[in-house]
């Protein structure tokens, strides 16, 4: 059970962060189909940052002294760097969509093509292979919390809460949850958030009240890029041992589905992301999953083909979309270039 919860969170948390990224863009009126590409770019930049910092030996002393706090600061720095780079990358979409009034679907698709191409081009040149790894050791050694750090011996077990939420988890996951809550509050409870959302519903009305629609749409897209970039890095940190290979396996698109399923609202998105996280987790590790702790791998004994489990998240998404699409309500002005003369 602790394993199941831990693994579900690992998949669910980046998913909900990236889905919130989608909400920020769409609430300001820009369809951000490029989430996948931005995740890929952010993941690459984060890993590159970790790699260079390790190469320069900046945190080596902290690693040798097992100084948890500074190592986690290192991780946070990498996350912030990935977020900044994701924001920078999303400017391409913002410029095309806002200044040039481009087709946002095609613009997003272009970024989705551009990110893996650029990333793989440089990975090949830097690492001479198709995967960029950390400079040395692995992600678990540098960034993962372990029970031994809290004075537990090899044979000792932590209690339920400890083994679920402390042992073998990344602090990055919790930072993402905090960021998620903060950004959701900003979007719903502040003047800025209210103005941003108004630009996605009726930009002309917003403009008539003195709101700078162009600025707000830029803000929405850039915040969206930052969140997606961070989500991308945390995704590869926790699931791929901090390595980038120009692919996040359709996670960005899954996040879009989560956003629609969650009806563009943070709490619903949270629930949707947990559901998909659970299915992703089952697909990834059903054969070693011991749900009630009796030593029997129930799902494995059901003897269902692996491919069915792997298909599940996508099939469920389609089914769920089929049931919820009638009641879903997208921001009214999303995808429509802002034309000040149109009333």
């Amino acid at each position: 059970m602790p394993f199941l919860i831990r693994q579900t969170l690992i998949y669910a948390v980046p998913l909900m962060l990236v889905a919130l990224a989608g909400v920020f863009a769409e609430r300001s009126g820009i369809i951000n189909l490029a989430l996948e590409g931005i995740m890929i770019f952010g993941a690459f930049m984060g890993v590159l940052f970790v790699r260079f910092v390790q190469q320069w030996g900046w945190f080596q002393a902290a690693y040798d002294a097992k100084n948890i706090f500074s190592l986690q600061c290192f991780c946070l720095l990498a996350m912030l760097f990935a977020a900044a780079m994701g924001a920078l990358f999303s400017l391409l979409l913002a410029f095309a969509a806002i200044n040039l009034k481009a087709d946002q679907t095609i613009g997003g698709t272009a970024l989705n093509l551009l990110a893996p191409a650029v990333v793989l081009f440089f990975i090949r040149i830097i690492a001479n292979q198709n995967t960029l790894n950390m400079y040395k050791d692995d992600a678990a050694g540098w960034f993962m919390l372990k029970k031994s750090m809290f004075g537990y011996g090899r044979k000792e077990e932590m209690n339920f809460l400890g083994s679920t939420f402390v042992d073998k988890v990344y602090v990055a996951t919790y930072i993402c949850i905090i960021v998620f809550v903060l950004m959701a509050i900003i979007l719903y409870k502040t003047k800025f958030g209210m103005r941003l959302r108004s630009c996605g519903e009726n930009p002309q009305a917003s403009a008539s009240l003195g709101i700078n629609v162009i600025k707000m749409r830029y803000a929405g897209t850039v915040i969206s890029g930052a969140l997606a970039g961070m989500g991308g890095f945390v995704y590869v940190l926790t699931t791929a041992n901090c390595s980038a290979n120009g692919d996040v396996a359709g996670f960005g698109f899954l996040a879009l589905a989560v956003m629609i399923f969650g009806n563009w609202k943070p709490l619903n998105i949270c629930g949707a992301a947990l559901l998909f996280g659970l299915f992703k987790c089952i697909a990834a590790s059903y054969s070693t999953l011991d749900i009630n702790g009796d030593g029997v791998y129930m799902l494995k004994e059901l003897n269902i083909n692996t491919n069915i489990y792997r298909m599940m998240p996508y099939v469920i998404t389609l089914i769920v979309l089929a049931f919820t699409s009638k009641s879903s309500r997208a921001p009214k002005a999303e995808g429509i270039p802002y034309d000040p003369g149109k009333r």
Partner: protein, 418 residues
Amino acid sequence: MKKESFWEKAGTRSVLASLVAILIGMLAGGIVILIVGATNSTLGLGGAWEGLRLVVAGLFSKGRDAAGNLIFGFNPTTFGNMLFRAVPLIMTGLSVALGNKAGLFNIGAPGQYLAGTAASLFVSLSLPTNVLPTWLIWLIAFLAGMIAGALWGSIPGLLKAYLNINEVLACIMTNWIAANLVTWVFEGSNLKNVLEGTKSGYIYKTSTVMNDVIIDGVRQTVGANVPEGAQVVATRGGVATAKLGLDSLFSGSQVNAGILVAILIAIVIYVILSKTTLGYQLKACGANRYAARYAGIRDRRNIVLTMALAGALAAAGGALYSLSGNTEFFWNTYQSLPAEGFNGIPVALLAINNPIGVIFSATFMSMLQICGQKLTELTAFNEYITNVIIAVIVYLSAFMLVIKTWIGRLRKGKEAGK
């Protein structure tokens, strides 16, 4: 009324806008190469210069001479391979273009392409050649691929038409489902290449000849050579697209009649779109679904039909590629989608959704891929630079309208200056 001059025609401006997009895309790729060359001591500016020349003229590359300098000239092998690789791109490009004409963004081409590949491989490798002639098997396999693609494409079509689910999302989900489904189908099949030890991750080429034999009461599959004392139950495989002499025209390349089939299909789609009622209805639905419905066009039926047709086209690309007999399919594909499917998007955008234009833009895209291949072979750069160029072109085509206006203004400026 004054007749429009050559420069004022909408078609001319569209072609010009595409050419500008290509030029800027190449320029961006060139700049990336220059920067990498200048900052990387092992490559240097000399390396960057070689890279630049290969990106522009990789099609004419003939490798390096004894002194290590790049040599250029007509190379029939690369020309033939360019045509061969253009085939799947033409088909997926047509698929995306057809969707765009009907107002549907068909990003599901990779899944449909996979469906077509899987179905045609399955049929062509399973039907016994000692009962049916190989040309008939080829035809059945090709049609089976198209039907599979049509069915796969109609899923997002149905979801869009009846449940109003965004076709982009539905297509992406069906893509990944297809990737898993295809893996599942081949995982349990007897079509995995076990005859050649090093090719265990691949499905047999369709041209492989296999014999199902019974040796000492045990049924097993052997290659073309039947061991003595074995009883042959069935012969399978040996299916390949006809070459029609194209291989002697472009010696050493993989080209076959598939390119002619693709061009023919492109022309058929052009005729359907511009000369038939069906084409008019599809375009009307694309322009405004509700207005079309008001005019008595069955919009839902048309959406499903468009997606099914688009699916069949993308799948035909997969079928033509795999039925060529010299390509191998990596069956454990659940983690990746075929690039040919996604590359249909830039092909269609560059051709401004014109089926005839697709033939040229697909050939151009395939030439870029050849250049990338040469780049990897001959320099320290790699083929992903061509994907960067393609992505930049797609990015530019998102605001093709702006580029067209620029061109229009340039003309006006010149006329004013006269």
